[in-house]
Amino acid sequence: EPEVTQTPSHQVTQMGQEVILRCVPISNHLYFYWYRQILGQKVEFLVSFYNNEISEKSEIFDDQFSVERPDGSNFTLKIRSTKLEDSAMYFCASSVGGKASTDTQYFGPGTRLTVL
């Protein structure tokens, strides 16, 4: 069964460093998402991406964050200068259609980011 994959599973970085989290969405999906989950807190929407453009973003997704689909398979989340509070589990998701109410989003296993 097709699945969303994410690498690395765990990333440790120093505060102020740039990190790139990678995701390979399901191949026939057109909509891509990033969510984060700070330890003990809710899963929070960060950004959605369609047709090589950001379609929605939350207030969390500030200028320190960027997303890219550098090729036909990868979808990346870049944090330019990491802060301690960026430590969280980051989930990538993808869906065929973009209607959140009816188009199932399939989540990857997540990347645990630890900022020291």
Binding site: F45, A100, P109
Partner: protein, 110 residues
């Protein structure tokens, strides 16, 4: 972002007992979804409810969407140890984004 409150936060029951998890909000949602999340994995969709008053069954799991589309419940009948996990509700509101609840950790003891 619409707020979804889940209760209880933790639930521990004996195998064979029934349980109910609640998801409440003051906001109206166009749909509400229930996910299950295992440690070290991403959320996996269990069901989507769209119509107010809708009831969906998935084997021993029964999901209900409130008439006003502001709340939902998940009922598990005759729980088994394999039902142990984190159950999340998520609603799609007028911002068209998924808003998650904090989750209910269910433990079923053998």
């Amino acid at each position: 972002t619409q707020l979804l409150e889940q209760s209880p936060q933790f639930l521990s029951i004996q195998e064979g007992e029934n349980l109910t998890v609640y998801c409440n909000s003051s906001s109206v949602f166009s749909s509400l979804q229930w996910y299950r999340q295992e440690p070290g994995e991403g959320p996996v969709l269990l069901v989507t409810v769209v119509t107010g008053g809708e009831v969906k069954k998935l084997k021993r799991l029964t999901f209900q969407f409130g008439d006003a589309r502001k709340d939902s419940s998940l009922h598990i009948t005759a729980a088994q140890p394999g039902d142990t996990g984190l159950y999340l509700c998520a609603g799609v509101g007028n911002d068209y984004k998924l808003s998650f609840g904090a989750g209910t950790t269910v433990t079923v003891r053998a």
